[in-house]
């Protein structure tokens, strides 16, 4: 049975920056488990094809130079992403993608260096709070994953229910309020530090990533209403 039954086939684009390295994993996960063909879009693109969702993958875009995600956020293609969102599109930023979304001010706050000062690469327990809280495990692999926002921003995020993913017990990077993933105020932009594309197969460590993708497609992409 299709994981996206009742949804139709969403048109997904993925933007690859110099240094993005989780693009192939995303394309493979969407192809293998959702039968979605993802259009890979160059950072040099000046316009986007018709899409329902855009994925910003993980990696080290621009070598994390200046700040992680900062140079990618300044790339003109991100203006197209912002415009796509304004028109009604859905966006998912994973790891470096989340960093890019924060630097581009499409999501609030910033991702700073892990409090340990170390690159952390392991599976973590999370509460995924998109509809009803559920416990999942996903892998993280990052050096700058510590979520930070000023107090009034944090209050607003919590009050609006914008925190969609939280580290459960074990906060690997010192993120404020254990925040691992956020949604925009309108719910159409998701950003998360853990990698759902790396958790789609029990043989490779776990398949909780499938649930994250399903929720994104059903509850974000599936609810898109174009302006």
């Amino acid at each position: 049975m299709s994981r996206l039954s009742g949804l139709g086939k969403p048109r997904v684009g993925l933007i690859r920056f110099p240094g993005s390295n989780c693009d192939a994993d995303c394309v493979e996960a969407l192809s293998r488990h959702f039968s979605i063909h993802t259009t890979v879009i160059s950072h040099r693109a000046t316009e986007l094809p018709p899409l329902d969702a855009i994925v910003l993958p993980g990696g080290f875009s621009y070598g994390d130079y200046l700040r992680a995600g900062a140079l990618a956020a300044l790339n003109p293609v991100m203006k197209e992403v912002a415009s796509f969102h304004r028109r009604g599109g859905a966006v998912l930023g994973i790891c470096n993608g989340f960093q890019i979304l924060c630097e581009a001010r499409l999501l609030p706050g910033a991702l700073l260096e892990n409090v340990s000062g170390a690159f952390i690469c392991r599976w973590v327990s999370l509460i995924f709070e998109e509809r009803m809280p559920c416990a999942i495990r996903l892998p993280v692999a990052h050096h700058q994953g510590r979520y930070f926002a000023p107090p009034d921003t944090l209050l607003r995020l919590e009050a609006n229910g914008q925190v969609i993913m939280r580290y459960d017990g074990d906060n690997p990077n010192g993120s404020l309020a254990g925040i691992a993933g956020l949604a925009s105020e309108d719910g159409r932009i998701w950003g998360m530090m853990p990698h759902p594309e790396r958790a789609c197969d029990g043989l490779l460590g776990g398949d909780c990533g499938l649930r994250v993708w399903e929720h994104f497609f059903h509850h974000v992409v599936g609810r898109v209403a174009w302006k």
Partner: protein, 79 residues
């Protein structure tokens, strides 16, 4: 015309590298109370640039520093 921009984390934000360096220095016998890092950028404008200081300030505020977690200082340097 040259400007120096120093970008550092806001005081309320933990500087993880600074703390690691402070702990290492402490073990070497230097009981420092605090160590914080900043990034230094050197911006060099042509002599015919209009309002180089204003431009340097905009560059610092909009690109070099992320205002969510960082502050910056701007100093004009001698040529």
């Amino acid at each position: 015309m040259r400007f120096e921009v120093l970008v550092e984390l806001r005081p309320e934000v933990l500087d993880a590298q600074g703390r690691a360096i402070q702990e290492a220095l402490y073990r070497l016998g230097h009981p420092l109370q605090n160590v914080r890092l900043s990034r230094r950028y050197l911006l060099e404008f042509g002599d015919d640039t209009v309002d180089p200081e204003g431009e340097a300030r905009r560059i610092a505020a909009e690109v070099l520093a992320n205002p969510v977690a960082e502050t910056f200082s701007l100093t004009r340097l001698g040529s």
